[in-house]
Symmetry: C2
Subunit: 224 residues, 2 copies
């Protein structure tokens, strides 16, 4: 069993370092990123690896590269897409923005409740039955190993979001889900604690009761 090399790839190291400097504020918006040649020397890698890292940062909306001119740092709050949430949660040893967890939980609730409503409206019988089945599965694992519970619970919501027929909700769901793993305290906060609430939600969806589904969803996602 040959172990995979633990050494992070060169371009990955550069990407992570620059990403953290930008998200952490060490590289402020408007500032010029050092030249590719300078970065290559600093990190002890070839310029091509630096370029790959910068291309990824540009794709994520963290920097703007311009031929001939300097590469400048953008304000990720203005130019970043939702996928940056995962980077914010992940980034190095740095503390993520204080409002990050609350933001994710609020958005999850807003989208989840509306997706439930739309799912009831638009999804086919088979999909509604599947949601109900997955709700039962998730409910059965409340109190059990958190890993299994989280997996089933996520699968249920995934089916709801798909059933809503809303592409944007589906993509946002991906972005939100990806931000959870690196912050255990956030995963804790979104984990359901009452099996009955999950079952009630599944039943409401199954019965195509939009009002009940929405209110059960609110119960699950935004208690209190």
């Amino acid at each position: 069993m040959p172990r995979a090399s633990d050494a992070p790839r060169a371009s990955e190291r550069v990407h992570a370092a620059l990403r953290d400097e930008i998200l952490g504020g060490a590289l402020a918006p408007g500032a010029a990123v050092p030249s590719e040649r300078a970065l290559a020397k600093r990190f002890g890698v070839h310029r091509q690896s630096v370029r790959e890292a910068l291309k990824r940062l540009e794709q994520a909306g963290l920097v703007r590269i311009s031929h001939g001119g300097a590469t400048r740092v953008l304000d990720w709050r203005d130019s970043g897409g939702l996928e940056i949430l995962a980077d914010l949660a992940d980034a190095g040893g740095r503390e993520p923005p204080a409002e990050l967890a609350r933001s994710i939980i609020e958005m999850r609730a807003s989208i989840g409740i509306d997706a439930a409503r739309l799912c009831v409206e638009r999804a086919g019988e088979a999909e509604l039955a599947e949601v109900n089945r997955l709700a039962g599965e998730a409910a059965a694992h409340v109190g059990g190993p958190v890993e299994t519970l989280e997996e089933r619970y996520a699968a249920m919501w995934r089916t709801v979001v798909i059933g809503s027929g809303n592409l944007a909700y589906r993509l946002a769901f991906n972005s939100l889900l990806r931000a959870l793993p690196s912050r255990p305290e956030m995963a804790d906060a979104v984990r359901p604690s009452e099996a009955e609430a999950i079952r009630a939600f599944g039943a409401a969806v199954r019965a195509r009761d939009g009002g009940a589904a929405a209110s059960c969803a609110r119960e699950l996602l935004a208690p209190g």
Copy 2:
């Protein structure tokens, strides 16, 4: 005045071509992307340019690159983040998914209404006044040049979203906004038509009337 070269960069050409093939379904999920060397030959560019394009696709969640193995196409519906919306709207001459416009409008409403509610709750007096001022500006341009109206209207919502103190809403707002330009019919659909509704919204926010702000926001974002 030396004109900027109109020739798209090599890595940009490759990126756009592969992105369109993936989003258009020509490269199905699970399929293997041709090797970097093969792509370099096909597009008549250096392998490094291909790599930069692939790195961007990986960053966006469209492919998974693995050392030694083939680069495989992912299902962007499952692995893509919200920023893909812009690519879906943009992509080449291809027709975007039928539900795209509806999805964006629905998500915009869901987030906008909740952001209005939170903004009233959390924003400072200065920010609320600014929202109201921008609402007035936008309202004054209803019926005028669409470009100016869109700019002011977007500025107003931007302030609301910032005032909501929700990072996820702010990033999602960026992603949604970026998808509009390439689809004029979508920009049309989200443009406000009644100055009075905008003014009412601004006044409700200014007065910290959460209920009124939410209902005015609903009026603006999800009429009917």
